[in-house]
Symmetry: C2
């Protein structure tokens, strides 16, 4: 899909400003191709359908890990919470070694690495890729729920949201009464 150069568009600034009114959940994705392991934080993860269980996310060509994500057969999706916010920050900081601390991650029988601190970890196979501008839209099929250490602790997990360059924590105080 190509956008004609002459098509009128809103400006980049207007677009970014519009999305400042649109918060997003946060997920950290990991993948491996050969022996190259990558991790990145995305605010584009969304549920497509529950039956079959499909998710989507987009990978910008500008991401340092784009080449691996665009070739990997599978991806590990970590939904972060307030306690594992450090993981989202780790995956969002450029130039940082993601897997430096060997205590933070384990290896699945299928070869991918996952971070044990995330309360929800899903293994998904990539079933479709679509080019959109300078990004690739991925459709992934959830095939396995990984039992992370955080999932096993049975605690309440306060979800986090990214909005206007700030992280927010959801809880009773943010809930809107009906």
């Amino acid at each position: 899909m190509t956008i004609e150069a002459m098509t009128p568009s809103i400006s980049t600034d207007e677009f970014k400003s519009a999305f400042r009114n649109h918060p997003a959940g946060v997920a950290v994705l990991t993948a491996v191709v050969g022996d190259e392991h990558v991790a990145m934080t995305v605010s584009s993860l969304f549920s497509i359908s529950a039956q079959p269980p499909l998710m989507g996310f987009s990978v910008s060509d500008l991401a340092s890990s784009a080449r691996v994500f665009n070739q990997a057969d599978s991806v590990i999706i970590h939904m972060v919470d307030a306690d594992s916010l450090w993981l989202a920050k780790l995956g969002a900081t450029s130039g940082v070694t993601r897997f430096e601390d060997r205590r933070q991650w384990k290896v699945l029988p299928t070869g991918e690495r996952y971070f044990t601190a995330a309360p929800t970890v899903v293994r998904a196979t990539v079933v479709d890729r679509v080019r959109a501008g300078e990004s690739t839209l991925c459709v992934a099929h959830a095939v396995e729920l990984v039992k992370s250490d955080a999932a096993a602790d049975q605690a309440e997990h306060a979800p986090v949201v990214y909005h206007n360059r700030t992280w927010h924590r959801l809880g009773d105080s943010s809930a809107v009464a009906d």
Copy 2:
């Protein structure tokens, strides 16, 4: 893209439970085909790229307005805030007439209806559609920023998030200190 019936999957319940740890921003979409105007609330809107300005969202086949959204050339995207939360509820309630109150919406020169209460309203043309399970993934190119009544009031707009069947409002109290 077809998912083989024999491919192992996580269950629908597991999938829904996983996304309970993944909050989402809320948008209301409107579209028109012929003289059939539709509106629906989605939690799947995400930014794909700022240059060119592209967004994505998914439309379930189960949505009553799916036929129109899957044929429309353009879509009007409303980012809702705490003050226009009624609009998100309107678009999420089945069997309700969306355009009953004539004071709530206006008509664009291009023919689509938009709700004036949303602080951010973007007109986008659909540039790609991809089937994924029982849904259609749409890629839309932002072509015009619509000046809504709410946008003109220059007030602070508290964004809302949908999480685990509850609406949340973001503000200073939900922000996580760095």
